[in-house]
Amino acid sequence: MADAPRPMFDTDELVINMGPQHPSTHGVLRVVLRLDGERVVDCDVVIGYLHRGIEKLCENRDYTQIVLITDRMDYVAAATNNLGYVETVEKLMGLEVPRRAKYIRTILAELQRIASHALWLATHAIDLGAMTVFLYCFRERELVLDLFEEYCGARLTYNAMRIGGLPFDLPPGWDGKVRAFCAILEQKIVEYEVLLTHNRIWLERTRGIGVISGPDAVAIGLSGPPLRGSGVMRDIRKHEPYAAYDEFEFDVPLGLAGDTYDRYLIRIEEFYQSIRIIRQALDGLPEGPIMGKVPRLIKPPAGETYHAIESPKGEIGYFIVADGKSASPYRFRVRPPSFCNLQALRQLIRGHLVADVVALIGSIDVVLGEVDR
């Protein structure tokens, strides 16, 4: 071996850092890539740069104060975070929520899904070079934020739910605005699809990239659109219905190939399904109170429970242990969907090009505020 001529080019593997300050890692995600030329041989995902100790913080706050903190986890889908938390406490305490509150919660959660998916599509598209879609999606997301602003006054961290119901009833004329928005969005999704779905560049960049089979996706703990993109029928809205989802008709789109393109198609279809749910909820919106009977001091009896809902990113679950004595949870745990989905990145990324790494991070749809908590 000593006599072998030195290769003209260095063919060693190269280790590079992507992030934590990188525009395409959607926050402070750091991916250490081991490269063979342009191909990724292996990677290590380093997280924790945004760790704020939310779980510890919540263990030292009242049950009512925690709703506000859950906003700060997945800050582009605050309403679903609120919903998951208040439902967990209601389950622990056995509280009944009025039907009108359930309907409004469903509407808010679906509007939130639209906003979150719009932000996802915007950033995913700009990562892959589609600037126009970025601007289009932000334009529609703005309309959702306006609706939220009219409902609760906030545009990002809503604090929109209370244990046992809702803080506000719908403002007058709000349902008409939501209907108008649904009509606008339906036309605009066609615009996104015209730009992307059959675009040759988009197809080249997304098809066959990051393929994961159904059983593998289940084993690695993927949930939400990435799991359904692999053809696994699992949607908590259907299987363990919460809020008022059992009263509405909607379809759950499933992918075939399990690649980045399928995950894109799934989310596009979920726009339509969300609109469908919102329309049904507005049509059947019952009259009545928006707040159930709730004790003045929220103090669940000693016990523990896990409750999960379908956030735009996947299964967001809350595990709460109450000790029955104090007004704050003894143990507060969030099962963050982005965290568990991000775990699959290493498996997805192997063998692909460096340029595909941004496509894959985008297609998982991570929000680092939720990954690190």
Binding site: G48, T305, E315, Y330, R331, R335
Partner: protein
């Protein structure tokens, strides 16, 4: 503001000791883990584990509709493998792995596995109790999803997870001392001022302590 006779504003001799943890008043000894009510028969999945692996299930608990199976660390992998493969259980999706800390108890940690079946659509929790330093086997070769979740349990609680393929801290920096989610870990640290200007940090701390007495 500076009229008060501040006790020794710049005392470089005293090394700022970290704030002691606030003692938790009447810390509960453990979760209640209530047994199922008399009239309620456990689902087939719970009875199946108890039958197939005699002695592995030490306790069955039921609360607000959730079933929990409590087992011991040495039989954990066996129970998990059974739950994943048995046709009555098929718990192929590991939703969550987490822990809770009960310092008053002899074996202070509960490690909790939230499981779900994508084909049969049911849930079950498995729980083991472990002392500080007592090994808990990793289930990441049963469910690869448990890999990061167990790393988080190790990072946040210091539960001794053994046979893990990649046991490193995940959220905290690698050289961090202590495990933040333990109940005896203080909620509030000294803050960044301690690193930037320890003398000033000490002065403010003494000032706060002096005003607290009045």
């Amino acid at each position: 503001m500076a009229d008060e006779p501040a006790p020794k504003p710049a005392a470089p001799a005293a090394r700022p000791a970290p704030k002691p943890a606030e003692p938790k008043v009447e810390a509960p000894a453990g979760p209640p883990d209530p047994p199922p009510p008399d009239g309620l028969a456990p689902p087939a999945i719970v009875t199946a584990v108890a039958e197939a692996l005699p002695g592995a299930v030490t306790q069955v608990s039921h609360w607000v509709g959730d079933w929990t199976v409590i087992t011991t660390p040495d039989r954990l992998v066996e129970v998990c493998r059974f739950l994943r493969d048995d046709p009555r259980a098929r718990l192929d999706f590991c939703s969550d792995v987490t822990a809770s800390d009960w310092p008053a108890r002899e074996r202070r940690f509960d490690v909790i596995y939230c499981l779900y079946s994508t084909s049969l659509c049911h849930r079950l929790r498995v729980k083991v109790r472990a002392g500080d330093g007592e090994p808990v086997p990793s289930v990441s070769d049963v469910w690869p999803a448990a890999n990061w979740l167990e790393r988080e349990v190790y990072d946040m609680f210091g539960v001794e997870i053994v046979n893990h393929p990649d046991r490193r801290r995940i959220l905290m920096p690698d050289q961090w001392q202590g495990h933040p989610q333990r109940k005896d870990y203080p909620l509030e640290g000294p803050g960044e001022l301690l690193l930037e200007d320890p003398i000033e940090w000490l002065r403010i701390r003494n000032q706060v302590a002096a005003t607290d007495i009045e």
